[in-house]
């Protein structure tokens, strides 16, 4: 009996081995085991419909595209979807995905000494040639360092070896990525559709020649739209301001001009369809890029010039194919200012005509009050009846609207509000900003008055079911905008304004949402900072700061400690008015819009002088000087410039 039992154990082991081999073919068995112990494991396994999985061994160039927030936030990013399709369309390139692991998954990875892996092939990130990080906003910087550590890659470029992957960054935050200069080999400035392929070709040629890492960086630095921060040096004056930003070699450019695509490329259609529920789980279609309105607080409006749009003839087949390929039930038609699309009415009519029997919901956010007609409202009512409507006047007095260059006729505004309620939308959300330059209490009081008046209009049409919601944002003067020289308003003043609005809205039965002053401080420091913030970010991360965008994790004390212990003054970046002649940390990044134009725009702003829509009158911002030569015939692709 005993003997047979022993034989049996050996057989069991052998059998166990076979069973395990089967498991490995599904996925690395250890990864599989830890997935049982984390919340929403579907975030980490890929396998979505339309996922592209290429053969690892036979594909020479391997990218991992990383969105440094959780899957739930990052997966719907349109930039990521575009790059995924563009890179994977090349036979000799593969592009996989990875995201920041949530806290429970990170703990499991660390406990089991497992590296962070890609969703497609479950390969450790260190095994890829290029890691391409999307940096859409600053509050995910600490997540980047965390992902590097979880991958066994040193945070500081200077500590890495020749065998580490090339670490690239791209996205809207890269127009001033100086605070992250220590941690990235290179940043792509501007639009990535073409340059990502060009970098791939350059990388392959370099790899074939067995070049050194330094050679690769030199080659990249000479490349249009690529910024290699380690090849630039910054000198400072006694007062802490910048004396000069210098390239270390004569053959690399002193200024890095952003990249644009003169014609918007074919839109992605085969979107990945997430298996787990995520934020904004819908299909996004970019109908237009850029904006001609020139709102002075708006970073996106300045850095994404010129305006380019996709025509109705391109968009309808794209939507059709994408719906067929994904099965999505909701579509967002995205742009910075939808109602400014020259064919917007035709687009909504055609969408209605083509898709009304499919039981879909269409969203058309970012509507401008003055270009928003009753005809368009009729169409929208068909596309997405019920629910809420959003408008963003941003300021409530005519004077303040002139300062921010978002003029709006009061009569037009209240007419639109009336029509919205008359069309049956029961809830209206209005976005306003506080902390704007030259703002007085009178301007803040006007926000409350506007809210009350809108509520009254709603009530007269829909009775008590009419809801008004004020969304109050605080101005952070962003790089590359006319307000870039201005300080941020003090937290005490902001708090007083919020308190006033809170009391008033409560009394009037209006819902209000806002950011506490402290919560925008991190964004202020990191967006307006320079490369001396590198050690601050590193220390904050070392001391546990991550997922800084998640309100529930109060990381501010960690950040304050990090500033203190590294001897960097945060107020220098937040509350100091910068001189018009000062060299700003991002001056070597050329967005096509001239600094002199921004300066003039600031001066006009303070005098209350507006610059109406530049589609009609060119104010020579510089974008045509920079890119006019690439401008196609208007029949091929519409540009907003006159």
């Amino acid at each position: 009996m005993k003997k047979s039992s022993q034989t049996y154990t050996i057989t069991t082991l052998q059998k166990k081995f076979t069973a395990k081999a089967i498991l490995i073919t599904i996925m690395n068995s250890l990864i599989e085991k830890i997935l049982y112990h984390v919340e929403k494991p579907g975030r980490y396994v890929g396998g979505e419909h339309n996922q592209i999985e290429k053969d690892w061994g036979s594909t020479p160039l391997r990218w991992c595209l990383i969105f440094p927030d959780i899957y739930d936030i990052g997966q719907t990013n349109l930039g990521l979807a575009m790059l995924y399709q563009i890179l994977n369309a090349e036979p000799d390139i593969l592009a996989e995905r990875s995201f920041a692991p949530w806290i429970d998954m990170e703990a499991q990875l660390r406990e089991h000494d497992l590296p962070l892996f890609s969703l497609e092939s479950k390969k450790a990130l260190k095994e890829f040639d290029i890691l391409g990080f999307t940096l859409p906003y600053e509050s995910i910087y600490t997540n980047v360092l965390n992902i590097l550590e979880l991958s066994g890659i040193e945070a500081y470029v200077s500590h890495r070896t020749e065998n580490d992957p090339l670490i690239l960054g791209g996205g809207q935050a890269c127009f001033n990525a100086e605070p992250m200069a220590d941690f990235f080999d290179a940043f792509v400035i501007g639009e990535g559709e073409e340059v990502s392929l060009e970098i791939s070709h350059l990388y392959k040629a370099w790899k074939a020649n067995n070049g050194s890492r330094q050679e690769l960086l030199f080659q990249l630095a000479k490349f249009p739209g690529v910024y290699v921060p380690s090849l630039y040096e910054v000198d400072y004056l006694q007062d802490g301001t910048i004396e000069a930003i210098r390239p270390l070699r004569a053959d690399i450019p002193a200024k890095i001009t952003k990249r644009i695509v003169p014609v918007l490329p074919p839109h992605p259609e085969k979107f990945l369809v997430p298996n787990v529920e995520i934020v904004h789980d819908r299909m996004s279609i970019e109908i237009m890029r850029g904006c001609t309105r020139g709102c002075r607080f708006c970073h996106a409006g300045m850095v994404n010039r010129p305006v380019r749009q996709r025509s109705v003839d391109q968009l309808i087949p794209t939507i059709k194919n994408a719906l067929k390929s994904t099965g999505y039930e909701e579509v967002g038609l995205l742009s910075l200012s939808s109602s400014d699309h020259t064919q917007i009415l035709e687009l909504t009519q055609q969408v209605h005509e083509n898709f009304h029997d499919k039981k879909l919901a269409f969203g058309l956010p970012s509507l401008r009050i003055e270009s928003f007609s009753v005809d368009l409202m009729n169409e929208l009512q068909e596309l997405k009846p019920g629910g809420g409507f959003t408008l963003a006047p941003e300021a409530a007095t005519e004077r303040m609207r002139a300062v921010i260059n978002k003029p709006l006729d009061e009569e037009d505004f209240y007419f639109t509000v009336k029509k919205i309620f008359e069309h049956g939308w029961r809830s209206l959300k209005l976005y306003y900003m506080i902390g704007l330059p030259t703002e007085t209490m009178e301007d803040v009081e006007a926000i409350l008055e506007a809210g009350i008046k809108v509520k009254r209009i709603g009530k007269s049409i829909l009775g008590n079911s009419a809801k008004v919601h004020l969304g109050i944002g605080t101005l952070i003067p962003k790089p590359h905008t006319p307000f870039q020289w201005l300080p941020v308003e003090s937290p005490e003043t902001i708090q007083a304004k919020i308190d006033y609005l809170k009391a008033g809205t409560r009394k009037a039965g209006i819902k209000m949402s806002y950011n506490i002053p402290d919560s925008s401080l991190l964004e202020t420091w990191l967006s307006r900072g320079d490369r001396r913030l590198g050690p601050v970010i590193y220390r904050a991360w070392k001391n546990g700061a991550k997922f800084d965008a998640w309100g529930e994790r109060e990381n501010l004390p960690i950040w304050r400690e990090a500033f203190e212990s590294t001897g960097v003054d945060p107020d220098f970046y937040a509350y100091r008015e910068r001189g018009l002649d000062e060299i700003l940390p991002w001056d070597h990044i050329d967005i096509g819009v001239k600094k002199n134009f921004l300066k003039q725009d600031l001066q006009w702003s303070l005098r209350g002088r507006t610059r109406p829509d530049c589609r009609n009158t060119c104010y020579a911002c510089g974008i045509l000087d920079a890119f006019g030569e690439t401008r196609p015939d208007n029949n091929i692709s519409y540009w907003g410039c006159p």
Binding site: T18, E32, L35, P41, V45, G47, H49, V273, N275, K359
Partner: protein, 213 residues
């Protein structure tokens, strides 16, 4: 449009990466896949029109299955073979449609007629078959097998309807168990594994059959 909807019963398997997909997410996945098939799918009435779909039983996270069942409703009859083919084209590789049949629309809901589920559990080398057997027998000798779920004490003993050990299978040692899956008495094999001091993550649990009344 046909007033009486056509009720279609689908049997499918779930494995690989998709074993880590929860119940609601699986339901959403089918909704989108059904939309991709462009079959004449019946929608629910009302303001938010959704696809009418009904899954027999939630498969716990991490389990694989070769016997999941769901019902969908169509506006017009379609050849079941075509439905199966279109669904398989629209579904990710880790879900495979195995059988499609038209059923009487008047039948009670799947949940209401589900009685029990069969599971095949791979026994990990640690603790091995013998220890597993001993622990399980010890558990059965007790008057009750109690666990606490959502602050309620549940006795699993009457819910164990059948079991056996399969030591000669090519997949190693396996434990077969039939557990009650009715709305009032629903037992999960992972709860049982935990009572046996085994981490369900160390086992491969496969649902092999759903038994209906």
């Amino acid at each position: 449009m046909n007033d009486t909807p056509i009720r279609i019963r689908v049997k499918y398997s779930k494995s690989g990466n998709l074993r880590f997909l929860g119940h609601i997410d699986t339901q959403n996945l089918f909704e989108r896949a059904l939309r991709r098939t462009e079959l004449p799918i019946r929608h629910t009435q009302g303001f938010n029109k959704r696809i009418r779909i009904n899954l027999a039983s939630a498969l716990p996270l991490g389990f694989i299955s070769e016997a999941e069942i769901l019902d969908i409703w169509l506006d017009q009859p379609i050849d079941t073979e075509i439905i199966g083919k279109k669904l398989n084209e629209a579904l990710p590789d880790d879900i495979k449609v195995l059988e499609v049949q038209m059923v009487d629309n008047a039948l009670p809901s799947l949940q209401a007629s589900l009685v029990s589920s069969d599971y095949l559990i791979s026994i990990p080398a640690d603790p091995g078959l013998e220890t597993f057997k001993n622990r399980f027998q010890a558990l059965l000798t007790g008057e009750k097998i109690e666990i606490i779920k959502r602050k309620k004490t549940i006795d699993l003993k009457p819910m164990i309807l059948d079991y056996s050990f399969q030591s000669e299978s090519p997949d190693g040692d396996q434990f077969f168990i039939r557990l009650s899956s009715s709305p009032n008495a629903n037992a999960r094999p992972d709860d049982l594994l935990q009572l046996l001091e085994i981490d369900p993550a160390d086992c491969l649990v496969k649902r092999t059959k759903l038994n209906f009344s």
